[in-house]
Symmetry: C2
Subunit: 335 residues, 2 copies
Amino acid sequence: MKNEQLPLLRRLVAACATTLLLASSVIAQADPLPSWNDGAAKARIVGFVQAVTTEGSKDYVPPADRIAVFDNDGTLWAEQPAYFQLLFAIDRVRALAPKHPEWKTKQPFKAVLDGDMKTLAAAGEKGVLELVMATHAGMTTDEFAAVVRDWLATARHPKLGRPYTDLVYRPMLEVLAYLRANGFKTYIVSGGGIEFVRVFSEARYGIPPEQVVGSSVKTKYEVRDGKPVIVRLPEIDFIDDKAGKPVGIHKFIGKRPIAAFGNSDGDFEMLEYTNAGRGARLAMIVHHDDADREYAYDRKSGVGRLDRGLDEAGKRGWTVISMKDDWRQVFAPAK
Amino acid sequence: MKNEQLPLLRRLVAACATTLLLASSVIAQADPLPSWNDGAAKARIVGFVQAVTTEGSKDYVPPADRIAVFDNDGTLWAEQPAYFQLLFAIDRVRALAPKHPEWKTKQPFKAVLDGDMKTLAAAGEKGVLELVMATHAGMTTDEFAAVVRDWLATARHPKLGRPYTDLVYRPMLEVLAYLRANGFKTYIVSGGGIEFVRVFSEARYGIPPEQVVGSSVKTKYEVRDGKPVIVRLPEIDFIDDKAGKPVGIHKFIGKRPIAAFGNSDGDFEMLEYTNAGRGARLAMIVHHDDADREYAYDRKSGVGRLDRGLDEAGKRGWTVISMKDDWRQVFAPAK
């Protein structure tokens, strides 16, 4: 093709792009959040998205700055009766115990082998990471991902009897898809281990590994048997929880998000940081108040405690999502 | 619009998308790399891109895995007579010296104030980071970005007399654009400071902040005068150089790239890691052999030393780009 023909072609492309834009705006009028009951929470999400995507609106935000961050445990998937990564770590400690007789008397391994969940829950996401770290040091990152993948494929939730990756929230999957359809880049910002979450984030949430921020262990580069690999070290690198979440966001993304979703006080600073930027902001908290369909817990829970967030959401302009009232369905169909 | 009309609209969208795809493939036939002379290096880039983007080809790579990584100093912009971030640090030390009489006798500040470039150059990118760290601790990340922005707007290269952001390589900008037009995600993986590079990466390279990996200082989250900010601490967090580059890639991206561009032995492990993956791979080294238009240096240079890379490129299947022979033009037009 000659270069002179390019302008014509470019006009054709532009015309087509306009058609696509119009078509997509019409499609967008179908309900983007069918698993949400009509109410303040749903209206807040839709109103925010319309405000920041309407060109000429005072709240308009260009696509490059449409960054939305999501906590994972308790926000995108369930976290009771314990963080799923802790359940993974427990299974791993049990599987590896025959090779480690010293664990019978050494904490936190002893607590795992004794089934002492109270001691384990008190250690929080950092405790989980320490267990995973200790049991998987020296493994390459590819080997670790394979172990996680195998576990996710075979393990079942103790109460609900389903694979853990079934226990993702359908209304939140709709929010992720809705935001992306409106030019947002969606990120996970999890207190859980980054290498654990990355194994299923793309398949389950449509979030690629490079958009997962999380807690991590140190690693090193090594040429092992002639093959360059990344090896996990028994040392914590970063805890992406509480005040660590804005730090993780700044490190990985380098921009302040305009929308944030969390469910516990571990997300407080992330919501605060997001909400403090200029212009329209969306800060939302998933409140687990649905004992029938999922779990009901907040101020006194050992896992996913939500206390200060409930006290301050109103005055800070954050929206509390009631799982019981706002969600027509809780879990997504199996995949 | 009624939901029954959606299938029709979706067909329209699909037809339009096909048109766009055809149009873009025709546009792609115009020379995507006009600043490159015809030769092995250019043919290698074009051949690789065609191989990994041709559906049905044995080397086909889906868009999600088309990750390309680029060193910055000496690969995307110049790095002589010293890393530009070192020249920034020197200017900052001089500007702040009146408030720090102790620097007159304390290294490395003394070397800066004495103009002792040899001592400074020997400290490498880590030394640069230490200087920047010491001079900007306690500042918020927004304040630091503003200082960098001001410096880039006013400082001039000592030999070429132009703003530093003019000294980006036109042929490399073409490679970045060509890869992105073919579905690649392009990343910077720099030994330089992540917060320094992010200030200009989007405007100059079309690479957004979230696709910049680099060396970093620790930061902390703080509510300062009622405003949530990220504060720089006087402690190094991560050195993204040499064996640190694959570690940084794994941490930020979580996938092995399929293409890597570097220019010094600081990029050796990044090229090695990239090239060792399965399927078609592209590993390229920019060789500074053009004293007339830029600089000529390699095995014995204090900045950007290239020694092992020159020895091993051939047997490893990496391609050495000769700035002198392969590049029709060196610098991009001013912006």
